[in-house]
Structures are given as structure tokens and as C-alpha cells.
Symmetry: C2
Subunit: 345 residues, 2 copies
């Protein structure tokens, strides 16, 4: 290691406190209730926060492990920080809640330098600031081997308003909140261009790389669906549509039929396998939700300017089927990300 990361924990904590304070410095005045929410932040034994009365607490943790979830060759430190937090924010979105606080556990590889740690926190804190999420604690260690990150996000949802995976019923219509497979395509583009610091020339390719490096959690849509009671079931697409829809169906005790022609995949010559990317590519962090037939007419065609895609319907079978444009129907096996499944590639 070229330079000492930090000499003591105390030095690290003070550095991080200053960084976190700076991240929130230029904000417009925040609602007092939120400001008051943080009773005690980084530096004591634990964080102490308030939960609004009439609300339930959402807790979610997500790990990001070097060489599993990210690579120091392909992902800038800002993107590693952004992605690590985005995974947890997306889980809160998937409950229909509002994220409030984060705790970050960071096992820093002895191979990285302080500017990597700095970039990591900058990326994470910038995303946190946009969503009103404050860093209130965590844990740190210096380790041999790979860098390891675990992010805890605590959020709130009004009592009995949280949306689960298990509410889908036969006849409900299936929607996704955006184009799928972009992140998987973006990763492929990054891998093929390894070593080149320049972004791809085509706007569509740049968009795919941006979605991979800086995915956008869909918290506003999740909240909209829970507040209006529009969705019967909701989850986020972290591991690919085929895998995540099979989880939603298993939790709800139903099956589903997807219409291949309606599934929005990437639009690029490089993405000849656009449908496969959209079905099995993970890490888009769009929302997957079901809407009872009688409520479909009340669902807007677009949310915050971006279309919602109607991709299929729930049925009483126990399988996921894919209806092809030619008229034939295939059984769709989950082929997205599963940390225990043996990879064939």
C-alpha cells in the first residue's frame, strides 16, 4: 500500500463526519422533523434515531463484495458507493416506503488508497443526499484481501401501507417501471471496452453504462403505489425479471404469463439478445408490480415522465410462461442472479 489509509479509527471517524456534514451542507432547509430525527450519529456506540408515530420501520441490508458484485478494474469508486446504497434504497422502494437513515459497514482492502475510500463515500453520500438519507453509523475494518461493503437502510412506511411480494392474485396485471436489461448490457460494454477511459460514442450505449454504474432507485413510484393502494404486490428487479417474478409468484402462490413483445429490452445493435437481457439481466433496480384488473385504468401511463410497461398477467398456474409474438408459449425458467446457483458461464 502506497500510503497509510488512516492512522487511527479516530482520524477515520473525524474524516467521515466532515465528509458527511459537507454532503448535506448545500441543501435547502430540511423539514424539521427529519432534522430532529437524528438523535445521535457517527461516533457513539450506536445510532439513535426517531421513527414517526403511526409508521412502521423498514430495515434492509445489502452486501457488495469485490469480485462478486463489483470490480475495481471496471467500477470507479463513486459507482461502487452509489451502487451499494442503491441496492438498499431500491429495497425500501419495493416496500412502498421512504428511506431515512443508512449505516455503512466497510471492510477496506489493504490494497486500496485513501482516494478510493474517499470516492466511495462521495458516490454514496451524493445518492443519499438526493433521497434525503443520512449516514448515521456503521463499522470499519482494514482487511487483507477483498473490499467488502454492507449497507443498512432504515426507512418508514405508514402503518399497514407496506406492499409485499405476496399479494398478487389471479387476473392481476403485471407491470415494470422501466426498460430492462440495460445494466447487464452496460456491464458487457464496460467489459468489452476495458482499459478505455472514454465513454461509448452512442447515446444508447452511454445510457446502458450509466444505468449499470449509477442505477436510480424508484422510491417515488414505490411510495405512489403504496399511498394510492394501486398495487397488490411489489418488489424490485435486482436479480432479473425471470428470477424475481418467480419469487413474487412463489410468495403469492400464483403463476404468470409474460408477453415477450411487450417486454422493454435494450435498443442497440450490440443487444441482439435484447429479450434475453431483459428477462435475465439483473441490477436494473426497476420495480415489478401487479395491479388488480379493476384498478388498471387508474394507473397512469407514465410516472414522472417515464412510461410504465404492461408486460403480462397473473394466472392460477404454478409456472411462469412466456408468450412469443409467433403465438407459441414457453415455460420460463429463472435464469437471473442467484448467489448459490452454479454458473455455466
Amino acid at each position: 500500500m502506497g500510503e497509510d489509509l488512516f492512522r487511527t479509527e479516530n482520524e477515520f471517524v473525524q474524516w467521515l463526519q466532515a465528509l458527511a456534514a459537507h454532503a448535506h451542507k448545500h441543501e435547502r432547509v430540511r423539514p424539521l422533523s427529519l432534522e430532529k430525527g437524528v438523535k445521535l450519529g457517527i461516533g457513539d456506540d450506536a445510532a439513535l434515531v426517531a421513527v414517526q408515530s403511526g409508521h412502521e420501520l423498514i430495515l434492509t441490508t445489502d452486501m457488495s463484495v469485490e469480485d462478486v458484485h463489483f470490480s475495481r478494474r471496471l467500477h470507479p469508486p463513486e459507482a461502487v458507493g452509489h451502487r451499494a446504497l442503491a441496492r438498499s434504497l431500491s429495497d425500501v422502494a419495493a416496500m412502498g416506503g421512504v428511506p431515512r437513515y443508512m449505516l455503512v459497514s466497510l471492510a477496506i482492502s489493504k490494497e486500496v488508497r485513501r482516494d478510493w475510500v474517499s470516492g466511495f463515500y462521495r458516490g454514496m453520500l451524493a445518492l443519499g443526499r438526493r433521497f434525503g438519507v443520512r449516514l448515521v453509523g456503521g463499522d470499519t475494518a482494514l482487511v487483507p484481501g477483498r473490499t467488502f461493503i454492507d449497507v443498512l437502510v432504515a426507512g418508514e412506511v405508514p402503518r399497514d401501507k407496506a406492499l409485499r411480494r405476496s399479494g398478487a392474485r389471479t387476473g392481476d396485471q403485471i407491470f415494470v417501471s422501466g426498460r430492462l436489461g440495460l445494466s447487464a448490457l452496460g456491464l458487457r460494454l464496460l467489459q468489452s471496452r476495458r482499459g478505455s477511459p472514454r465513454p461509448p460514442a452512442k447515446a444508447a450505449a452511454r445510457e446502458a453504462v450509466r444505468v449499470h454504474l449509477y442505477p436510480e432507485p424508484q422510491c417515488a413510484l414505490g411510495r405512489f403505489l403504496s399511498e394510492r393502494r394501486m398495487a397488490s404486490a411489489l418488489m424490485d428487479l435486482s436479480d432479473g425479471l425471470s428470477t424475481d417474478l418467480s419469487r413474487l409468484c412463489a410468495a403469492s402462490g400464483v403463476g404468470a404469463r409474460l408477453w415477450a413483445a411487450k417486454i422493454p429490452g435494450p435498443k442497440l445493435p450490440e443487444a441482439a439478445d435484447s429479450l434475453q437481457l431483459a428477462l435475465h439481466g439483473g441490477e436494473d433496480y426497476q420495480l415489478l408490480f401487479t395491479v388488480p384488473q379493476r384498478k388498471v385504468s387508474r394507473l397512469p401511463l407514465k410516472f414522472q415522465g417515464r412510461p410504465l410497461y404492461h408486460v403480462g398477467e397473473i394466472d392460477a398456474s404454478k409456472a411462469i410462461k412466456l408468450a412469443m409474438p409467433e403465438g407459441n408459449v414457453q415455460t420460463l425458467e429463472p435464469a437471473g442472479w442467484d448467489c448459490f446457483r452454479r454458473r455455466t458461464n
Copy 2:
């Protein structure tokens, strides 16, 4: 790896749900409010829990990294699970709160087998059960290299009753909740006896090994001190008295004087350096607290049958001093665990 750990995430989640249900099976009937507290457990996008009205939420995360915090050679998997949770429970104790829920992120080395994972969760769930703490979620990954654990514990404390590190004032008396240096001695004994499956012959040595492998978080004492408003400052001893007291003093803007003769170290011939172990050995998870002079007479000599040790007093200096039995006074430098400090051993 001799056998597949789990074939799919789904298989793992179902296995873990069954294990967690089993851990709480034989309990006496639990308070309804606590049972009702868990709205949604393992298997959805996030956990959903209730926080009692009039209470603040305590959040703490602690990492346990293989070859940093534990070794597969020295620590049985049950002890790894117990210790990983004990660290976070101790943080909640150090705020004067009651732990309620845990989320466990586990990056499982490809080198371990399912029986290691099973032992790990058994050890963790057994400790959780004793403290009324439920496993409500987490994250899992299979990784090359070392096993990595991050435990989040959420707890509650009545509003404005939490005890911080920063409340110590000149003249306050310093106490610790039990014998110190036992965990460091236990580790030394385990290292010297590596390869021997038999416990040490002497009861005192067995006790040191037990404290190292299965430390007991002091939640009841923490709660007692906060409810009775006995302590002006409170923290747990995870990194050694010299390091942790210096943190408490820094947070409070004070100094301290410790009386060497009053510091309870290990009582074993192997522990010729008993005072050094007690001053700098970490991972005892006893509590360190300060009591205003006028309240000292109300502090019990023993709590739940175990003595509380009066080891020094807070003063207006900015240093930590150690008064030796011979009468001379040394400056005490923090020499416990600091993840960034360069080791000399």
C-alpha cells in the same frame, strides 16, 4: 468445496426460516407486543417491524471478518455466530437500550461447508433467543476468499433515556461491570493449545476461554443504569480499557485517573501481565460507565450477583493517568484494538 452449500437462494431462505422458527419454538409465551412487532420477516424485499411509541430506535452494525476478528482454526462456528451478534448486543447495552431485531449479512467463503453455516446460525440464534432478539432479515452471498459477517441490531430505548459517551464530568467516578482481560487471555490460551480439542484443566483458564468464545453482553445492567439515570456516560469495552476510556474522555472533553490496584484483571499464573491484559485487552464486552459523585452511594455493590468495580475518577485534564500502587503516576496511552493502527506484534 466438498459439497454444495445450497443450490439456490430459495433453498437457503427456507432452511434459515426453519432454523429461526426452531430457535424460538420452546420459548415461554412472549409478550404480545413483541410478537406483534415483527410485521414481515426473512424472505421479502426488507424487514418490517414496529417501534413502540415513546421510544427511540437504536441501530448498530458490527463486522466480523475471517482472519481479522476470528479464525476458523481457533473459533468453532457456534462461537463465531455468538461473538458476531454479541458485539452488536453489547452496543445496544452501551446505550441503555433493549435489543429487538437482527439482520445478518453473511458472505460465505466457498471453502466452508453447510455444517459450518449451520453451526454459525445455531450459535447466533441461541444468543438471540436468550435476549429476545429475532432474526428478521439480511443478505447472503457465496464468495471466494474469506467469510465476512455483518450484524445489524435494532433496539429501543424510552425517549431521552439513552446514555451516551459524552456525558462524563469532572469528579464523576469510573466503574467497570466485570473482570477485564479475560477474553485476551482466553485467546492466548487457545492459540497456545492449538490443535488440542480438550478444554484447559484449570477452572480459571476455562473461564477465560469461555469469555473469549462466548462473551455475555451486559444488556440488563445497561438498561438498569439508563432507567435509574445512574450513569452520566456509558459505553462498552470492546477494544480495551485504555482505548475505550480515551474515547469516552474525548467525547466528554475530560481526562481520567485510573487506580491500577483497583482494576480487576485475570487471576492466573499464565497472566503475569494481568494489569496489561486488563488495560489493553479487548472483546470483554463489559460496560464502562461514570457515576456522578452524589449518586455513587445509590449504586449497588453487585448487579445480578456480580460485583461492579470502582476503578478511577474523571478529572479536568485532557489525559488518562494510571496511578500505580507505589504512588507514582503514569500517562496511559491507548494501546487496545484500533483497526487502522499499525501493529507492532
